[in-house]
Symmetry: C2
Subunit: 346 residues, 2 copies
C-alpha cells in the first residue's frame, strides 16, 4: 500500500476494497485523503480513536441512527446529507442544540470511491450548514453481496436549552397538534426512484436540519410538551406513539393537513396514505393551546416552516386513538401502519 | 401487527422481517419485548428518540465503532459483547471513564430472532459488567442478501479523569512501550471459526472491557503519554500510528513480546504474523520510562493484565520506524500490514 509515499486514491475510477477496512495503511489513506479534508476540524485532526471536547455542566442529549436508505442518491438529498440532518433533528427534538456528531461507515467492497466521496462531501456540507462538527468516526468494509453500497451511522450530542424538557409523555387534553409543513414528501421522492416503481414527479425530499426552527419555537413556547420528527412510519406512527406514551387521544382536522398536490396525486396513484409516508425535514409539536398561534407565527417565519399548520387537538381518550375528522363530520381512526409500506426509506 | 394486543414475538422460531425496521408497530414490539427489558434503565425507558443525561462540566470523550465481525458468535464472545467492550475501550483509551452508550442495529431480513436475542442479552450483560448504560438506540432492517445477519454500531460517551490527556502524538524518545497481555488471541479465535480455514484450537477471544485497568494505570501514572487498544491491524498498526503521529521510532525486544503458545503455533501454521492480528482486550501504553515498573505492577494486579510486559522503547528516528530486535541482535522493521490479513475481524 502507498499511504506514506506513492499513489493517491483514484476517486474517479477506484473502488472500495476490503483493505480499506483493515485498519492498516489503506484505511489510513482513506482517512487522510477523504475524511480528514472533508470534515476538517481540530477535534478530528488529533487522529485518536476518540474525540475529547470540553462540556459545560448541562443536560446533554444523545441520539443515534443508522441510515440504510436506498437508493443512495435521490431528488433533494442523499444518504450522507440525510445522516447528518436525521441525527441533528433527533437531538433537536429534545430541545437541545446539536454540537457534535460521530460518523461510522459500513462500506460494501466494490463501491465506487467516486460515490463515497460524493456522499462524504454531502455530509460535510450538511454539517457545516447545520453548525455541527463531525468529530470522530469509523470505517468498516464488508465483502461484495454482504452490504449494499454504504450504510452510515451518525450519533449526535447536544446541549439542552435551560428550562426546556419536551417529552412524548407530556401531551395533555386540550393541547394543540402542530406540524411544520407538508407531509410525505421524502417518502414519495424515494419511491419515485425505486426500480420497478419509478414514476415522473418533481417532488424532492424535504431532508433538512430543523434545529434552528426548533430554537425559535422554544423561544416562543418554552413549555412545548413534545416534539418529534415524523420519519419512518410517518405522521401516523409519530402521533400514535405520543398518544400512547401520554395516555391521551387526538382528533385531527382532515382539511388542515398540509400536502403538496403532487405528493397527494402520487399517493392516490399508488394507493398509499401520505400520513404513513416518511418525512425528513418536518416536525410535530404538541403545545399548550393558547401558545398555538404564536408557535405558528414563529414557524412561518422560518423558510422550513412556511406551511406549518395547526392540524388538531389532544383529547381525553382511554383507547389512545388518533382520529381524523373529515370535512363533513365523519371520523376515522388513523392507525399505525400494519406492515411495512416502504422498506429502507431512511 | 400485534404490539398492543395479540401475539408476542416468537424468540424460538421467529425471524426478523422488514416490518421490524419500519418504524411502526412491529418496530415498537421489538423495542418493547427485546431491547427495553434487556437494556432496562430509566433513560432508555423514556421512549424518546434521544436520551437526555445530566453532565457535569468536564472533558468529554466520544468514540464510535461499527461492528461487522463474522461469524457473529465465536469462542470467548460474540458481536454483541464485542460492540460494548470495543467502544468502552475506545473511550477509556483517552483516559475517560465510559458512562453511556448508544446501540444501533442493521439487521438482515431472515435473521433468527433467537440469535438477535442472544446478541442483545450479551450486550446487556457486557454493559452491566462494565457499569455503562445503553441509553438510546435504533433498528433498521435490510432485505435478505443486502446485509449479513447483524451489524452493530455503538457510540460511547465518557468523562475524562482530571489532569489526564494521553494522545497518540505524545510519545517521546526514552519512553517505555508496554502491552497489557498476550497478542493475537482475538484474531486466531475468529480465524478458527471461519469456513474453509477452521482448525482445532482452544484459543478464545480476549474480548473485554479495559476501563478499570486503565483507571488503575492512570492512578499510577497520570502522565501516561498515549494509550490505544491494538484491534484491527494489531500491535503493528497501533505502534506505527503512534510512531508516525509522535514523529518518533520504536525498538521492541522480540523476546519480551507476550504470546499464548497456541496463538504462536496457529500463526506459524497459517503463515500469519501475530503482531498483525487483532486484539479486543489488550492495551498499549507509552509511559515515561521511570514509571514503567509501577505501571507494570498496576497492570499485573488486574486479572486482565497478568501478562503485561515492557516490550520496548521509544527512540529518535526521523523515518518513524518500528523495529524489532531479535535475541541475537539483528533487527527487522515491523511495518503496517500491506493488504488485508483477515476481513471482518471486528
Amino acid at each position: 500500500m502507498t499511504a506514506r509515499r506513492g499513489r493517491r486514491l483514484d476517486f474517479e475510477h477506484g473502488l472500495v476494497e476490503l483493505t480499506h477496512g483493515g485498519g492498516g495503511r489503506a484505511t489510513t489513506q482513506l482517512i487522510e485523503e477523504l475524511f480528514l479534508p472533508a470534515f476538517h476540524n481540530d477535534l478530528l485532526a488529533t487522529r485518536n480513536d476518540q474525540a475529547v471536547m470540553h462540556m459545560p455542566a448541562c443536560e446533554m442529549a444523545m441520539s443515534t441512527d443508522c441510515f440504510v436508505v436506498s437508493p443512495l442518491f435521490f431528488p433533494g438529498g442523499d444518504i450522507g446529507a440525510m445522516a447528518v440532518h436525521g441525527t441533528v433533528n433527533d437531538v433537536a427534538m429534545s430541545g437541545a442544540m446539536p454540537l457534535y456528531i460521530s460518523a461510522a461507515f459500513i462500506l460494501e467492497e466494490g463501491l465506487p470511491l467516486h460515490d463515497l466521496r460524493r456522499i462524504v462531501l454531502s455530509m460535510a456540507e450538511a454539517a457545516q450548514d447545520a453548525g455541527v462538527r463531525i468529530v470522530t468516526g469509523d470505517t468498516k468494509v464488508v465483502e461484495r453481496g454482504k452490504g449494499d453500497g454504504v450504510f452510515i451511522n451518525t450519533t449526535g450530542i447536544g446541549i439542552r436549552m435551560p428550562g426546556v424538557a419536551p417529552s412524548v409523555e407530556k401531551a395533555q387534553p386540550g393541547d394543540a397538534v402542530i406540524v411544520s409543513g407538508t407531509l410525505g414528501d421524502h417518502g414519495i421522492a424515494i419511491l419515485s426512484q425505486r426500480e420497478g416503481i419509478g414514476f415522473e414527479t418533481d417532488v424532492i425530499s424535504d431532508c433538512a436540519s430543523l434545529h434552528r426552527m426548533v430554537a425559535s419555537l422554544i423561544e416562543t413556547c418554552p413549555h412545548v410538551r413534545a416534539m418529534r420528527d415524523p420519519t419512518r412510519g410517518g405522521l401516523a406512527a409519530t402521533l400514535n406513539e405520543i398518544a400512547e406514551a401520554s395516555g391521551v387521544g387526538m382528533i385531527l382536522n382532515e382539511s388542515a393537513l398540509p400536502f403538496d398536490p403532487q405528493v397527494e396525486a402520487a399517493c392516490e396513484l399508488l394507493g398509499l396514505d401520505p400520513l404513513h409516508m416518511a418525512n425528513e425535514g418536518k416536525l410535530v409539536a404538541i403545545v399548550p393551546f393558547d401558545a398555538a398561534e404564536d408557535v405558528l407565527e414563529a414557524l412561518h417565519a422560518d423558510p422550513l416552516g412556511r406551511r406549518a399548520a395547526l392540524i388538531g387537538r389532544v383529547v381525553e381518550d382511554p383507547r389512545h386513538f388518533v382520529q381524523i375528522q373529515g370535512d363533513f363530520g365523519g371520523t376515522r381512526v388513523l392507525d399505525w401502519l400494519a406492515g411495512e409500506q416502504l422498506p429502507r426509506i431512511c
